[in-house]
Assembly symmetry: C2
Homo-oligomer: 118 residues x 2
């Protein structure tokens, strides 16, 4: 994290593990993160916050209980707070995420990935 | 604004005026906006919030008093709260902006562009 410009592709090139978001910047009390995703995440929800997804590369399905939102590059979706969802990607996908600092990625601090810097 | 996915290019294709952000989604108490910029904006600052810029297309210079941050597609910068800045684009540039709802784009409600939906 630095006070200069942030090149998202360069940040994504610094790691290869999935479902392990890297914080690249802070916006007030929010973390701006990049993440690589492949496969199925767990069903979860965030009772305290909406959940911002922007696809940078690849294709992401955000499964909701009633429907699936399919996103390609340049497409975004905000999962409203309290809504159960599961991100699924058949092939590797690169995402920009924005969440309040400290939000557990699984919706539960006990199972959440540790928040890392890129 | 809708509860479905948001295609940023499609939203940008719905208008052509510069420095007039369109809100495409809400993230908690924040507006997620797209904007087209060409030319020089005014020097301004936001005393209450950081200011998020992500370049989607084109090239943006964010002039600060001490230096200039030059951004291309896939590059972002967060202007810290209270820091004077001026966005400048020689050619048309498309941006994603995120700010607390109601933040005046000029830093001053008297001169701010009205906030529109896309």
């Amino acid at each position: 994290m630095d006070s200069n410009k942030i090149n998202l592709s360069e940040k994504l090139a610094t790691f290869s593990d999935y479902f392990a978001p890297r914080t690249v910047a802070r916006l007030n009390e929010y973390d701006v993160m990049v993440v690589k995703v492949k496969g199925e995440f767990v069903w979860h929800k965030h009772d305290e916050t909406d959940d911002f997804f922007l696809v940078l590369k690849g294709k992401l399905d955000i499964q909701l209980r009633e429907r699936t939102v399919s996103l390609g590059p340049g497409e975004m979706f905000i999962v409203p707070k309290g809504v159960e969802h599961r991100p699924v990607a058949e092939e590797e996908v690169h995402l920009l995420l924005i969440e309040p600092t400290g939000t557990p990625n699984t919706g539960d601090a006990k199972t959440a990935a540790p928040r890392k810097l890129a």
